[in-house]
Amino acid sequence: MDKILLAHGSGGKLAHDLVEKSFIKALANPLLDKLDDSAVFDISGRLAFTTDSYVVSPIFFPGGDIGKLAVCGTVNDLATSGARPLYLSLSFIIEEGLLLSELEKVVASVQKAAKVAGVEIVTGDTKVVTRGSADRLFINTAGVGVIPEGVDASGTNAKPGDKVLLNGTIGDHGIAVISQREGLSFATKLKSDCAPLGDLVADMLKASPNIHALRDPTRGGLATSLNELARQSKVSIRIEESKIHVREAVLAACEMLGFDPLYVANEGKMIAIVPPEDAEEVLAAMRKNRYGKEAEIIGEVGAENPGRVIMKTVLGSSRIVDMLVGDLLPRIC
């Protein structure tokens, strides 16, 4: 079995071979194929620019792997500003000894995810570090996208009266990853919800360009993202427990592990804060998209108690939903 050696990151012959055979071939596009040190392209309009690093362990998990995650995560971060994601950079930090076949599997899923997301990988880098200096494989991606005319989505824009929408079940990613952990693996058919949401957001913006805020609730879960939005916009957010969908498998795993699904990570979810008059139309658009079939209006924005998130429980009482404190699960993304 071929393994990644330190020399694969040295810039020499082996490195060239790796880039040409394993990366360029799979990810081919006119900008990348030039092999210049930077990608050069024309772009017009307001740009969104973001970066994220991916260190998930294990690197392969049900429903995805670190490659798919690295594309979807960055695409979704662009989508939260309403942008249409266009170009991504892709940097690998590889621990020596990683199987070449595993790396190629990751690159293949980068390619597939990029295709689904409608983005191109236009520049990249590879470093190999000594055994123990990294955990198998880390990926960094950065991305740029263009924001359509008239769209202004920001976490600071939530207004009292706005509706809070969510595109589906929560906690799938966090539980799918933890189900594979060494010493913790339990049988579940659950898959990560990892998905690129650029199209979903485009559909939502077509229904209403007035969407006030978008946020993808990843680490820290739905609860943490709602708290961030409430704080940024200085409003309160009231949600209804009965409107938030959680799969039985996630519920069961959460009971076993002592987690609250509200704090478990997602990688294919989008929260939208929408003016009340547009909420139904945006909801209908979400439900038509393959990543929004289970979308719901889960709550609304209020003026009292700025910064607070309050949930009406299934029993009809209400309670505060705070931010996640500390680390629920190490390295889920």
């Binding site: 009965s242 299934v314 029993l315 009809g316």
Partner: protein, 363 residues
């Protein structure tokens, strides 16, 4: 039957709440012994739904919270011994001892690993034959049998580098101590569900017989707790005191005999130190002489300075049900889940953490 969503039904919940409101005439204070129940009560806002006649107070049923600083210090000291890997349930990491925490010791280079069961710790021992793996045996009757089983497995498989620091505690003796102190007057006890799954319902009978306090063993879903409260209200209104099981899908009157036998084979009752309550006779479990070679106490020279309590922290009184988190000057100010002063703020089952996270007494 999937055993989760059915027990969170809003319709059935409303029915139970209206039954409780209808029946409850006499003023009654119920203690939920178990931290797991405290969490359910706060997570589902159950206190708000109960009539004014009923007061719920939280008890000492959080194994991490009741661990005395002196014992936390010993666990931390163990982690600093070269060649020792401390394996522990994740909740223990952040709990502050007199001077440090396992999390801080870990950041300074101690080998501390989080596990979900004693069996995982045993696997670590197998994989690291040159190290000594010490599992922190924290918990009530619920976890003690699994830890006993891990010691028996280590013996069977000849794993010589596996040790347990037994800080186990037993529930019935501490309730007796609490009731004898006369500090808190109770008209009902929500008995712990998972402890009872092991010990059964008989060990609680002295509470009904000797102290005249109704007892109902409850599960951990919101409907379980509401049903338990309804059963307690019925006893109170009829002037009766008995032990009933509301958590029938988990608990049998005779308990789990296999688990009890495992526990008895490896452990024997011993005095134990409880935070806020001092030493209580017969309330702990120590490893029997026969299994001494797995006892961390007997095999390591654990050196600690005298334990110090944190100034102003009233975790002890909160655990006795005498005070509520909001009575603490540090609560939500100097003591938060990010920077906990006392263990009740850091443990997932701690009262302060439940009050803080679910907004019981804030703002």
């Amino acid at each position: 039957m999937k055993y989760i969503t059915e027990f969170r039904s809003s319709e059935l919940g409303e029915g139970l709440i209206s039954q409780i409101r209808l029946r409850s005439k006499k003023k009654a204070r119920f203690m939920e012994f178990c931290g797991g129940h405290t969490v359910t009560i706060f997570r589902y806002g159950i206190r708000q739904l109960l009539p004014l006649t009923i007061e719920m107070v939280s008890g000492p049923g959080c194994p991490i919270c009741v661990t005395a600083n002196a014992d936390l210090d010993r666990a931390i000291a163990l982690s600093k011994i070269p060649g020792v890997i401390v394996a522990t349930f994740g909740d223990m990491l952040k709990v502050p001892g007199s001077h440090s925490s396992l999390e801080k010791a870990k950041a300074s280079g101690a080998e501390v690993r989080t596990v979900y069961s004693a069996t995982d710790a045993l696997e670590i021992a197998k994989a690291n034959p040159d190290s000594s793996v010490v599992f922190l045996g924290i918990g009530f009757e619920t976890t003690a049998p699994t830890i006993a089983a891990s010691i028996l497995q280590a013996e069977e498989k000849g794993i010589g580098n596996y040790y347990v620091l037994s800080l186990h505690k037993l529930c019935p003796p501490v309730i007796r101590a609490l009731l004898d102190s006369g500090e808190v007057e109770l008209q009902g006890l929500v008995c712990p569900g998972h402890v009872s799954a092991v010990i059964g319902s008989h060990p609680w009978e002295f509470i009904a017989k000797e102290y005249g306090i109704p007892c109902v063993i409850s599960g951990f879903e919101p409907l379980d707790v509401l049903q338990c409260v309804e059963m307690l209200v019925k006893q109170v209104e009829k002037g009766q005191a008995g032990v009933e099981i509301a958590y029938k899908r988990g608990v049998r009157a005779e308990g789990n005999q296999i688990a009890l036998k495992l526990m008895e084979r490896v452990f024997e009752p011993s005095p134990a130190r409880w935070r806020g309550m001092g030493e209580i006779a017969g309330s702990g479990l120590k490893i029997r002489e026969e299994y001494k070679r797995f006892d961390a106490e007997a095999n390591f020279d654990i050196q600690t300075a005298p334990a110090i309590e944190h100034k102003g922290c009233i975790c002890g009184e909160i655990l006795r049900g005498v005070k509520a988190p909001a009575d603490c000057k540090l609560f939500a100010r100097a003591c938060t889940p990010e920077n906990p002063v006392g263990p009740c703020m850091v443990s997932a089952e701690g009262s302060c953490s439940a009050y803080y996270l679910y907004g019981g007494e804030r703002g």
